[in-house]
Amino acid sequence: MITEDIANFIKYVKDIMSEDNVKKVEEILRNFSEDMRLNEDLGGLELKFKDLEERVSNTLSMLRRRFI
C-alpha cells in the first residue's frame, strides 16, 4: 500500500517539480527513515563554511593584534 502511495506521489510531483528536484525527491523517499538523516545533505556546505569561518576569524585575530 505504502509503495503504491509512493509511486502515486512521484507521479504527482513530476507534474509540479523540475527533473532534478524529482530525482532528489526519489532519493529522499528511498533513503527516508524516521529520523531522516537529511543533515548529510547539508554536511558539505557546513564544512565549506567552517573552513571560511576559521580563515576569517584567524585573519581578524591577526588584524586585532596588529592594528588595535
Binding site: 505504502i2 504527482y12 528536484n21 524516521e34 531522516m36 537529511l38 576569517v56 581578524l60 588584524l63 592594528f67
Partner: protein, 854 residues
C-alpha cells in the same frame, strides 16, 4: 494472527494462575462488577504492549496504564503468557514485571508478532481495549489522529514534519552565518577606520609643521658638529636621544660649590646662635639673681633663726600640756555635772508625776465624799424588798383574773343554752337571771382587778427604774474607790523607788542636787577662764613661730632660686657660702664680656659668605636658561623624528590592511555563495513539505470516503436513530466527527447525539479501524469492556445480533460485561466457535473463579 489462549498470574485482581482458551471469533467474560473481568482484558493488552516495545520503554507502559497497580497485592510479580497462531504456526509470548512498582518489564516472543505491521500498540487502533474511559477518548482529535495509522499516512506526516524541521534548521543556519558576517564586517570596518584616521591625522600634522628629513638634519647640525648626512630616521632618533647637554657638568660643579658655602654658612650661624643664646642666658640669670642676692644679704642667717624657733617650740609645748590637763579636769567636772543633771531630771519627773497623782487622788476622794451622805446601800435594800412585794401582788392578781375569766366564760356558755329562766345545771328557777347578774358582777370585779394589776405593773416599772439608778450610782462609787486605791499604791511605789517617804522629802532632795550642780558650774567657769588665758599665750607663741619659720623659708627659697638659676647655666652653687657665691657671680660677668666680642667676629664672617653665595646663584640661573634651551631643541627634534617615523609606519600599515581586506572580501563572496546554496536547499524542503501535505490531504480524503462507508455500516448495525442515521469523519488538517441529518445537512456532533448514540459512534469508529486495517495488517483484534453501557434492550440485542457478526467474521473479538440481559442475548446469538466464561466468585486470596459456559 489469532490469539489462542492466555495464562495470567499476579496481575491486578488475578492472584492465582488462570488459563483460558480464546475463540478466534468471539470470547465473552460475564460476571458482577469487580470480579476481575477488566483485569483479564488489561492483562492481554499489557502482554501485547510489552512485546511490542523495547524493555527499556517502561515509561510508555506507565503512560498506557496510567495509575493502574499492575501487580496483585498478594503476589510479588505479575506474569501473562499468550499463545498465538500465525500462518498455521503456533508461537508463545509472555511478559513479567521486573520492578516492585510494576512498570519495568521483561518480555519474550517466540514468533513474529513484533515484526507485524501494527506499529507501537499505544497508538494503534487495530488492537484496543475499549474501556468506558478509553471510548470517551475519541472525543478528542488527538485520539482521532490514530486514523493516520489506519490510513498509512504516518510516513507522509513524518516526511512533511522532517522537511519543515530541516527548512527551519537551514533558516537558523542562514541567520547564524549572516549575523557572523555582519559582525566580522563591522569589526573590519572599525579596524580600518581606526588606522586610516590616525594616518590622516599624522600626515596633516607633518604637512602643517613642514617636517622633513632635511629640515631635521639642518637643525641638528646647528646644535652639534657631528657628521649626520648619511643617517637614517632610526639612526637620527637614537643619536638625538643619546645627545648629552653640555651645560649639565658646569651646573653640577657650581651647585657643589654653592652647597659647600651654604654648609659653611650654616655652621657659622649655628655657632653664632649658640653664643647668642649663652649671652642671653647669662644676662637673664644676672638680672634675676641681683635683687635676690641683695635680699639674702639683708636677712639674718638661717642658723640664728632656727635656734630661736627651738626655744619658742619648747615654751609652746609646755603651754599645750597645761591646757590639756585643764581640759581633762573640766571634762571630769562636766561629766559629774551631767550625771547630777540626769539625776535631777529623773527626780523632777518623779516629783511631777507624784504631784499629779496626788491631785487626782484628792479629786476622787472629794467625789467619794459626796456618796457618803446618800446611804445608797440602805436605799437599794428597801427598794428590793418593795419590788418583791409588788411582784407577789401582781402574781396573785393575775391568778385571780384567770379564774374569774374562766367562770365568766362558763356562765356565758350556760346562758346560751338556757331557754327558760331555769338553771341548766341545778334546775333552779330564775337561774338565767341570776346567772346574768352573777356574770355582770364578775365582769365588773374583773375590770377592777385588771385596773389594780395595771397600777401594780406601773409601780413595778417605776421601782425598777429607781433601783437601776441606785445600782448605777453604787457601781460608779465602787469604781472611784478602786481607782483611788490604785493611785495611792502608785504614789507609794514611786516614793519608795526614789528612797523617800513623802513628797516634801523628795523636794528637799531635789534642792540639794541643784546646789551641787551650781557649785560644779562655778568650777567649770574658772577652768574655762584659765584655759582661755593660756590659749592666748599659746596663740602668740605660735604666731611668732610662724613668722620666724616664714623667714627661714624665704631665705632658703631665695638661696634655692639663686642656685637653680646658676644651675641652668651650668654653675653648681649648692654648697657654696655667701662669699663664694658672690665670687662666682663676678666670674660670670667676665665670661659675658668675652662672649660678646666673639659674636662680633662671627657676624662679620657670615656677611662675607652670604655675599659670595648670591654671586654664585646668579651664575647658576644663567647656566640653567642655557641648559633648558638645549633640552627644548632636543625634545622638539625627537618629536619631529618620531612623527615622521609614525607617518612612514602608518603608510605601510594602510597598504598592508588594504591587501588583507581584498582577501577577506573574496572570502565573504564565497560565504554569500554558500548562503545561496543553503537558501536553495531550504526552498526545496519547504516545497517538498507543502507538496507532501497536499498529497497527504488528497490521500486521506480518498481513504476517508471508503472508511466513512464502513463506519456508517457499523453505526447503523449498532444504533437506530430516527433523524441522524449517518455520521462522517472529516479531514481539514485535523480529523473531526460530523453528523448528517435526514436532509443531508451537517450538524454538530456533541450537541446533537445523546450518550448512547455517541457511545455507538465510538464503537463504530473503533470497529471500522480494526476492520479497515485487515487489508493492511495481519493482526486484527477488537477488545471491548462493557460495550452495552448506555444501550437500551433493543440496542443491546441489535449489538449482538446485527453488529457482532459483521465484525467477528474478519476480526477476533473479546468482550467483558456485567449486564445479565446483554449476556442472555450473547448466549442466544453466539456463533458456534464462541467461548463464553462466567465468573462465579472472586476473593483477594484466590482471585476469580471462572467457569466456561457450554
Amino acid at each position: 494472527m489469532i490469539l489462542k489462549s492466555i495464562a495470567i498470574e499476579g496481575f491486578k485482581g488475578i492472584s492465582n494462575r488462570i488459563e483460558l482458551e480464546l475463540s478466534p471469533k468471539l470470547t465473552v467474560f460475564f460476571g458482577p462488577v469487580a470480579y476481575g473481568k477488566s483485569s483479564i482484558l488489561e492483562a492481554i493488552l499489557w502482554c501485547l504492549s510489552c512485546n511490542s516495545l523495547e524493555s527499556g520503554d517502561w515509561r510508555k507502559i506507565q503512560k498506557i496504564f496510567e495509575d493502574i497497580e499492575i501487580i496483585n497485592l498478594r503476589k510479588p510479580k505479575a506474569e501473562v503468557k499468550i499463545e498465538y497462531e500465525h500462518n498455521g504456526n503456533e508461537y508463545v509470548m509472555f511478559a513479567e514485571t521486573k520492578t516492585e512498582k510494576g512498570y519495568g518489564f521483561k518480555a519474550y516472543d517466540s514468533g513474529i508478532f513484533k515484526e507485524l505491521s501494527v506499529g507501537e500498540l499505544e497508538i494503534t487502533p487495530f488492537v484496543r481495549v475499549l474501556t468506558t474511559a478509553q471510548i470517551r477518548k475519541f472525543e478528542f482529535s488527538e485520539d482521532l489522529e490514530a486514523l493516520n495509522v489506519v490510513f498509512g499516512i504516518t510516513f507522509w506526516k513524518k516526511l512533511a514534519d522532517s522537511c519543515d524541521k530541516l527548512a527551519e534548521t537551514i533558516h537558523d543556519k542562514e541567520r547564524e552565518i549572516i549575523e557572523k558576517v555582519i559582525s566580522w564586517k563591522t569589526e573590519l570596518e572599525k579596524i580600518y577606520t581606526g588606522v586610516l584616521k590616525r594616518y590622516e591625522e599624522i600626515a596633516e600634522k607633518i604637512k602643517a609643521e613642514n617636517i622633513s628629513l632635511e629640515n631635521i638634519k639642518r637643525n641638528l647640525k646647528e646644535l652639534t658638529n657631528e657628521d649626520i648626512d648619511q643617517y637614517s630616521l632610526d639612526d637620527l632618533l637614537s643619536f638625538v636621544r643619546q645627545m648629552t647637554n653640555p651645560y649639565h657638568g658646569k651646573l653640577s660643579e657650581l651647585e657643589k660649590e654653592i652647597r659647600r658655602r651654604q654648609n659653611e654658612l650654616e655652621q657659622l650661624k649655628i655657632k653664632c646662635n649658640e653664643i647668642e643664646s649663652r649671652i642671653h642666658k647669662i644676662k637673664q640669670t644676672l638680672n634675676e639673681i641681683q635683687p635676690k642676692l641683695e635680699e639674702l644679704i639683708s636677712q639674718p642667717s638661717i642658723e640664728i633663726l632656727e635656734n630661736e624657733v627651738k626655744k619658742l617650740e619648747k615654751t609652746y609645748r609646755s603651754i599645750v600640756e597645761y591646757i590639756t590637763n585643764l581640759g581633762e579636769e573640766k571634762r571630769n567636772i562636766e561629766s559629774e555635772k551631767f550625771r547630777k543633771n540626769r539625776e535631777l531630771s529623773s527626780l523632777r519627773a518623779s516629783y511631777n508625776r507624784t504631784l499629779m497623782l496626788e491631785r487626782e487622788l484628792n479629786t476622787i476622794n472629794a467625789k467619794l465624799r459626796e456618796f457618803d451622805d446618800q446611804d445608797l446601800d440602805k436605799k437599794w435594800e428597801e427598794l428590793k424588798n418593795k419590788l418583791s412585794q409588788l411582784y407577789e401582788q401582781k402574781e396573785q392578781l393575775e391568778e385571780k383574773l384567770g379564774e374569774e375569766s374562766k367562770i365568766v366564760e362558763v356562765i356565758e356558755q350556760a346562758i346560751e343554752l338556757m331557754k327558760d329562766d331555769v338553771c341548766i345545771i341545778c334546775g333552779e328557777k330564775g337561774g338565767l337571771t341570776k346567772a346574768k347578774e352573777r356574770c355582770e358582777i364578775l365582769k365588773r370585779k374583773k375590770e377592777d382587778d385588771y385596773k389594780r394589776l395595771e397600777e401594780i405593773k406601773k409601780e413595778i416599772e417605776e421601782h425598777d427604774k429607781l433601783l437601776g439608778s441606785i445600782e448605777a450610782q453604787i457601781k460608779r462609787r465602787n469604781e472611784l474607790m478602786n481607782k483611788a486605791k490604785a493611785i495611792q499604791q502608785s504614789i507609794d511605789s514611786e516614793l519608795k523607788r526614789i528612797g523617800v517617804n513623802t513628797l516634801n522629802e523628795l523636794e528637799e532632795k531635789i534642792n540639794s542636787i541643784v546646789d551641787e550642780i551650781n557649785t560644779l558650774d562655778d568650777r567649770i567657769s574658772k577652768i574655762n577662764e584659765e584655759i582661755k588665758n593660756k590659749e592666748g599665750e599659746k596663740k602668740e607663741i605660735y604666731r611668732k613661730l610662724r613668722e620666724i619659720r616664714n623667714k627661714i623659708f624665704r631665705v632658703s627659697s631665695i638661696r634655692d632660686e639663686i642656685n637653680s638659676l646658676l644651675g641652668k647655666i651650668g654653675i653648681n652653687a649648692w654648697n657654696l657660702s655667701l662669699n663664694d657665691l658672690q665670687l662666682k657671680i663676678n666670674e660670670l660677668k667676665d665670661e659675658l664680656q668675652s662672649l660678646e666680642s666673639e659674636r662680633e667676629i662671627l657676624h662679620k664672617k657670615i656677611t662675607e659668605i652670604e655675599k659670595s653665595i648670591n654671586s654664585l646663584k646668579d651664575k647658576q640661573r644663567k647656566l640653567e636658561i642655557e641648559e633648558n634651551l638645549f633640552d627644548g631643541k632636543k625634545s622638539e627634534l625627537v618629536r619631529q623624528i618620531s612623527d615622521l617615523m609614525e607617518y612612514e609606519e602608518y603608510k605601510e600599515k594602510i597598504e598592508e590592511l588594504e591587501s588583507v581586506i581584498d582577501v577577506l572580501l573574496q572570502d565573504f563572496n564565497k560565504i554569500n555563495q554558500i548562503l545561496r546554496e543553503y537558501e536553495e536547499k531550504r526552498l526545496f524542503y519547504l516545497m517538498l513539505s507543502k507538496t507532501v501535505k497536499a498529497f497527504m490531504s488528497m490521500l486521506v480524503r480518498q481513504k476517508l470516503d471508503e472508511f466513512n462507508e464502513l463506519v456508517n455500516k457499523f453505526y447503523r448495525s449498532l444504533y437506530e436513530h430516527p433523524e441522524f442515521k449517518e455520521i462522517r469523519i472529516k479531514f481539514d488538517q485535523r480529523y473531526r466527527i460530523a453528523v448528517i441529518d435526514s436532509s443531508g445537512n451537517e450538524v454538530g456532533y456533541e450537541e446533537i447525539l445523546n450518550t448512547s448514540a455517541r457511545n455507538a459512534v465510538r464503537i463504530a469508529i473503533s470497529s471500522a479501524c480494526s476492520y479497515y486495517g485487515l487489508g493492511r495488517s495481519e493482526f486484527n483484534l477488537l477488545i471491548i469492556d462493557e460495550p452495552q453501557l448506555y444501550l437500551d434492550s433493543k440496542h443491546k440485542e441489535k449489538f449482538i445480533k446485527d453488529f457482532l457478526p459483521l465484525i467477528y467474521e474478519k476480526c477476533q473479538v473479546i468482550l467483558a460485561t456485567a449486564d445479565k440481559e446483554f449476556w442472555d442475548y450473547i448466549k442466544q446469538y453466539k456463533p458456534k466457535e464462541a467461548k463464553l466464561y462466567e465468573i462465579k466468585s472472586w476473593s483477594l486470596k484466590d482471585g476469580p473463579m471462572i467457569e466456561e459456559v457450554l
